[in-house]
């Protein structure tokens, strides 16, 4: 069996061996439901679409994904199992990708379990299912971006709480990179092209164009790049830090 798949399988098994998986899924479903109906006013808007549902995903992921990713490497380092993992016939890259894919697949399960809402919207009206599918894909990609950042930062420390806080902070910056909160801090001293570059890194800008139904290849490539770059960084950090 492919080593990456073996690691993916083990990770997933671990999620479901502890309450982590169930707590995460239940909280995710309860929060998406509450936000969609209470804050997003899905019914009152009178429109058969899922925009109120997807609008809150970046904010939910901001806290839930780091809670999932914080243990990825910090725990391996803390318990010493990283020494076991790295002396098995597995490359660093296979381990990094396997663990990431497991976490991503898991968020995919949580996301897929929101399907009753999709059915509801179809029952109530006649939504554009293409846009909804695209939004699901966009949301899944964004979760992958958050996870890749979290996985990388989880390798920096042995302490899961520190990993969580750093990840939330970095994800927050990425989320709002296109907004004044972040831009005002750099506008004064960075040249304009750099400021524009930072602005274009915003998760929120890329994600909101996807849920509006504007599917631009660049948005998909963007999330793909974020995932790729942070996984490479993850491997580099891990190689430096694994023994300490």
């Amino acid at each position: 069996m492919n080593q990456t798949l073996v690691i993916l399988k083990r990770e997933l098994r671990s999620y479901f061996a502890t309450p982590v998986a169930y707590v995460f899924i239940v909280i995710f479903l309860v929060l998406t439901g509450a936000l969609t109906f209470q804050v997003g006013n899905l019914y009152e808007r009178g429109q058969a679409d899922m925009v109120p549902f997807f609008t809150f995903h970046p904010w939910l992921y901001l806290f839930l994904v780091p809670a999932l990713s914080m243990r990825l490497w910090a725990e391996e380092r803390k318990t010493g199992t990283i020494e076991l993992l790295m002396t098995l016939p597995v490359t660093l890259w296979q381990a990094v990708v396997g663990k990431f894919l497991a976490a991503w697949f898991f968020t995919g399960i949580a996301l897929a379990l929101t399907f009753p809402l999709w059915i509801t919207v179809n029952y109530l009206g006649d939504p554009d299912n293409g846009v909804i599918l695209a939004s699901y894909i966009g949301s899944f990609l964004m979760a992958g971006g958050f996870l890749a950042i979290g996985a990388c930062l989880s390798a920096v420390t042995r302490n899961q709480v520190i990993a969580f806080i750093i990840t939330v902070t970095v994800c927050f910056l990425f989320l709002l990179a296109g907004y004044d909160v972040v831009l005002s801090a750099v506008q004064g001293w960075l040249p304009q092209p750099m400021v524009d570059a930072i602005a274009s890194l915003s998760f929120l800008t890329h994600f909101s164009s996807i849920i509006k139904g504007v599917i631009d290849l660049r948005d998909l490539v963007y999330f793909g790049l974020v995932i790729g770059i942070f996984l490479v960084a993850n491997a580099v950090v891990l190689d430096m830090k694994k023994a300490s």
């Binding site: 098994r13 199992t81 002396t87």
Partner: protein, 310 residues
């Protein structure tokens, strides 16, 4: 064969392992001895592929650990210090994971799983999460993991640390049984263990190789080697015995207090026949008489501390 060639590991200013070279042949059980922090674990971690050497390399069954780490790791079974295992997994699921990652499949996979479960008596704890197991069981799960793919090379970092005497005995039996056709390297600071299982011992301190010999040869370096200890019984004056022994030409010195006497031979001399002869001719009543083969702990202390003083 394991061949370490000038292994070095540097942590900033600190030299953990300093130009270590040695070879281990199939059938050998090599004991790695040294005080805490001597570089035992660092050396084992480098050979097992967890740490990258700062300088030097090692080959394991012909596979260079730097050029072809996956091939080297495939022939090694490694038990890290403290036997870390995924705590939330059940023992059974953990072993299945190791079997998959080691590329075992089909009937062979099942046969190997059955074999290690039987050898390490893990059957009753298979459905249990590893973090609920006792220390002894955790260690056995770690050993099971290391031998699951029937590796040519076994590297065990303190395999009996923290086990009770019965468990220690079992682990040593296990090592002895596997020793005939494998290359086994164990690290320990329990010297009786070296005597019990190792065919060769390497002593390192501050990352440097200080001695490389069989346990018997190391014991022979002890000043106790071939000394004779006696305990005189009632009715025999210990001081009189001391005087007689001291007068013997083969005796270099006499130690011991009260009724305990240890006579040390001059180099190359054997004392036991002389002393039994004297006991008979003088009519000494001896409660105890035994030949010392040498004290490994004393040799160990000598070797590892004399260097610090220098």
């Amino acid at each position: 064969m394991i061949e370490a060639i000038g292994l070095c590991k540097q942590y900033g200013e600190l030299t953990a392992v300093d130009d270590l070279s040695f070879t281990v042949q199939p059938g050998e059980v090599l004991g790695f001895l040294g005080p805490n922090g001597a570089g035992k674990s660092t050396t084992m971690r480098m050979i097992a592929g967890f740490l990258t050497p700062t300088k030097g390399t090692a080959t394991v069954c012909g596979h260079d650990i730097l050029a072809d780490p996956i091939a080297a790791k495939s022939v090694i079974g490694y038990l890290p210090e403290g036997a870390p295992n995924y705590p939330e997994m059940t023992c059974g699921a953990f072993l299945e994971f190791i079997a998959d990652v080691r590329g075992l499949s089909g009937g062979h996979r099942q046969a190997r799983l059955d074999d290690v479960i039987e050898r390490l008596h893990l059957a009753p704890v298979l459905p249990q999460a590893i973090d609920t197991l006792s220390k002894g069981f955790k260690r056995r799960v770690g050993l099971a993991q290391a031998i699951l793919h029937d590796p040519q090379v076994l590297i065990l970092d303190e395999p009996t640390d923290g086990l009770d005497p019965n468990q220690k005995f079992e682990v040593r039996e296990l090592i002895r049984k596997m020793a005939s056709d494998k290359i086994i390297v164990i690290s320990t600071h329990i010297l009786e263990e070296v005597h019990a299982v190792c065919t060769r011992a390497i002593i390192i301190a501050s990352g440097k190789l200080l001695a490389d010999d069989t346990p018997q040869a190391l014991e022979a370096r002890s000043r106790y080697h071939n000394a004779v200890s006696i305990r005189v019984g009632e009715g025999t004056a210990a001081d009189a015995v001391r005087d007689v022994l001291r007068a013997q030409p083969q005796v270099s010195r006499i130690e011991g207090e009260g009724d305990q006497i240890t006579a040390f031979p001059k180099p190359g001399e054997l004392l036991l026949p002389t002393i039994t002869g004297l006991a008979n001719s003088h009519g000494w009543h001896l409660d105890e008489l035994h030949l010392e083969i040498g004290r490994l702990d004393e040799v160990f202390r000598d070797i590892t501390t004399s260097r610090d003083a220098a």
